[in-house]
C-alpha cells in the first residue's frame, strides 16, 4: 500500500471531493506538477486544465478553470472557482467557457493574462474532444 495523502476539492458553493489518494496532478500556473505524500509545502495558483487525483481504487478527474492549490506534506486542498467532473465535460460547455474567458479578456487591462487563459481553455477543449 502506497502512502496516501488527503485530497480535498472545494468550490465556493460546496465541497466537491474528499478522498485519500496516492497522487494529485495539478495544473499549476507555472506548469503542471504532481503532489505525493511528503511534498514540500507549496501554494500555487491554477491555470485552466485537468486536475487528477489518483488512488488505487479510482482516478478522479476534474476540469478546473482557476483558483489555487495548497499542498502540504500530508494533503492537498484545491480551491477551484469552478470544477467540472471530466465525465460531464462537453465541447459545448467548453465553448461557453472559452467565450466567457474571451469576454473577460477583452475587458481586462492585462491582455496577456486574459489571452493565456483563452489559450489554455482551447488546449483543454482540444484535449477533451480528440
Amino acid at each position: 500500500m502506497a502512502n496516501t495523502l488527503q485530497f480535498d476539492l472545494v468550490s465556493p458553493e460546496r465541497k466537491l471531493a474528499s478522498a485519500q489518494v496516492t497522487e494529485v496532478q495539478i495544473p499549476g500556473a507555472d506548469g503542471d506538477m504532481t503532489a505525493m505524500e511528503g511534498h514540500a509545502a507549496t501554494i500555487t495558483t491554477l491555470r485552466p486544465g485537468i486536475l487528477k487525483a489518483v488512488s488505487p481504487q479510482a482516478t478522479l478527474a476534474f476540469a478546473v478553470t482557476g483558483g489555487f492549490a495548497e499542498i502540504t506534506a500530508s494533503g492537498v486542498t484545491v480551491l477551484a472557482e469552478r470544477a467540472i467532473p471530466v465525465s460531464d465535460l462537453t465541447g459545448t460547455l467548453l465553448d461557453e467557457l472559452i467565450q466567457e474567458a474571451r469576454d473577460l479578456a477583452a475587458m481586462a487591462e492585462d491582455k496577456d493574462a486574459g489571452d493565456k487563459i483563452v489559450n489554455d481553455l482551447q488546449a483543454l477543449r482540444y484535449a477533451a474532444t480528440h
Binding site: 480535498d8 472545494v10 468550490s11 465556493p12 458553493e13 460546496r14 465541497k15 499549476g28 500556473a29 507555472d30 514540500a40 509545502a41 507549496t42 501554494i43 500555487t44 495558483t45 483558483g67 489555487f68 495548497e70 502540504t72 486542498t77 480551491l79 472557482e81 475587458m107 487591462e109
Partner: protein
C-alpha cells in the same frame, strides 16, 4: 357596537390571514434550512481562502509592491457603501436594521465631509434609502429573478465593484448585510472589503513555497477574496431573511390567534345579549297580558 354579522365576517377574515401567515412561516422554515445548508457549504472555501490571504498579506503587506486592493489608494475620501437587502418584505425588521446601519454610516461620513456613493443590492433597501440618500445612488443589483443565489451572482457584483475601483471611483468599500445568528437574532454588520482587511494570520510552522510568487498569488487571490466575501454576505443575508421572516410570521400567526379569541368572546357575548334581550321582551309581553 358591531353587529353579529360584522363580527362573524371579521373572525372569518382574521382566520384567513392566520392561514396565510402560517403557510408563509412554514415556507420560510423550509427555505431557511436550505439557506443555512448553503451557508454551511461555503464555509470551508471561505475559511481556507481567508487563511491563505491572511498569511500572504502579513508577509507581503508591508512592502511597496503590495497590490492596491490591499494597500488602498492612499486616500480616504470617497466611500462606497454596498447595501445588501432582501427583494421582498414581510420579514420583520430585517431590511430596516440594515438600512438603519447604512444610513447612520452614510450620515456620519457625510458629516466628516467625505463623498458617499451607494450601491444597492435588493429592492427593499433601495426603496427605503431613496428618500434621503437617493442622490448618492450609483448603481443597483437586481436579484429578484434569481431563485437561488450562486457564486456567479457574487462574482458579477464583485466585478462591478472592482471595475469601479480600478476606474478610481472610490477609495473604500464597505458591505452592509445581516449576519445570521439564530432564527430570532440577526446582526446587522458592516464589513470593509476594499482595501482588504485580512484577519490575523494563524501562526503555523509550515513554510510554504509560492508559485509563481507571493505577490502574484496575492494579486490573483484578492479579487477572488472580494467575490467570496460578497458571496458569504449574500448567503448570510439569505439565511437571515428567511429566519427573520419565519419569526415575523410566527408572531403574526400568534397575534391572529389572539385576535380570533378576543373576537370570538365578543361575538359570544353579543349573541348572548341578543338572546337575553329577546327573552326579556317575550316575558314582559306575557306579563302584560
Amino acid at each position: 357596537m358591531p353587529s353579529l354579522k360584522d363580527l362573524k365576517n371579521r373572525i372569518g377574515s382574521v382566520k384567513n390571514t392566520r392561514k396565510i401567515t402560517k403557510a408563509m412561516q412554514m415556507v420560510a422554515a423550509a427555505k431557511l434550512r436550505r439557506a443555512q445548508e448553503a451557508a454551511e457549504a461555503a464555509r470551508p472555501y471561505a475559511d481556507r481562502m481567508n487563511a491563505v490571504i491572511a498569511g500572504l498579506a502579513t508577509s507581503v503587506g508591508g512592502s511597496d509592491g503590495a497590490p492596491r486592493l490591499l494597500a488602498g489608494t492612499g486616500a480616504d475620501k470617497v466611500h462606497l457603501l454596498v447595501v445588501m437587502t432582501a427583494e421582498r418584505g414581510l420579514c420583520g425588521g430585517f431590511n430596516t436594521t440594515i438600512v438603519r446601519l447604512a444610513r447612520a454610516r452614510a450620515n456620519e461620513l457625510l458629516a466628516q465631509g467625505k463623498v458617499v456613493k451607494i450601491l444597492t443590492v435588493g429592492k427593499k433597501g433601495r426603496e427605503q434609502l431613496r428618500r434621503d440618500l437617493g442622490d448618492h445612488f450609483v448603481g443597483h443589483v437586481d436579484l429578484s429573478d434569481v431563485k437561488r443565489v450562486g457564486y456567479v451572482n457574487a462574482q458579477e457584483i464583485a466585478r462591478d465593484i472592482l471595475n469601479r475601483y480600478d476606474a478610481g471611483e472610490f477609495d473604500v468599500a464597505t458591505i452592509f448585510f445581516n449576519r445570521f445568528q439564530s432564527v430570532i437574532s440577526q446582526i446587522p454588520t458592516a464589513q470593509q472589503i476594499i482595501p482588504a482587511q485580512p484577519g490575523e494570520a494563524v501562526a503555523t510552522n509550515t513554510l510554504y513555497d509560492y508559485e509563481p510568487s507571493e505577490e502574484a498569488i496575492l494579486a490573483d487571490l484578492l479579487p477572488r477574496g472580494v467575490a467570496m466575501q460578497i458571496f458569504t454576505a449574500l448567503l448570510e443575508n439569505g439565511a437571515s431573511e428567511q429566519g427573520a421572516r419565519m419569526s415575523a410570521m410566527d408572531n403574526a400567526t400568534r397575534n391572529a390567534g389572539d385576535m380570533i379569541n378576543k373576537l370570538t368572546i365578543q361575538y359570544n357575548r353579543s349573541r348572548q345579549a341578543a338572546i337575553t334581550k329577546e327573552l326579556i321582551e317575550i316575558i314582559s309581553g306575557a306579563e302584560a297580558l
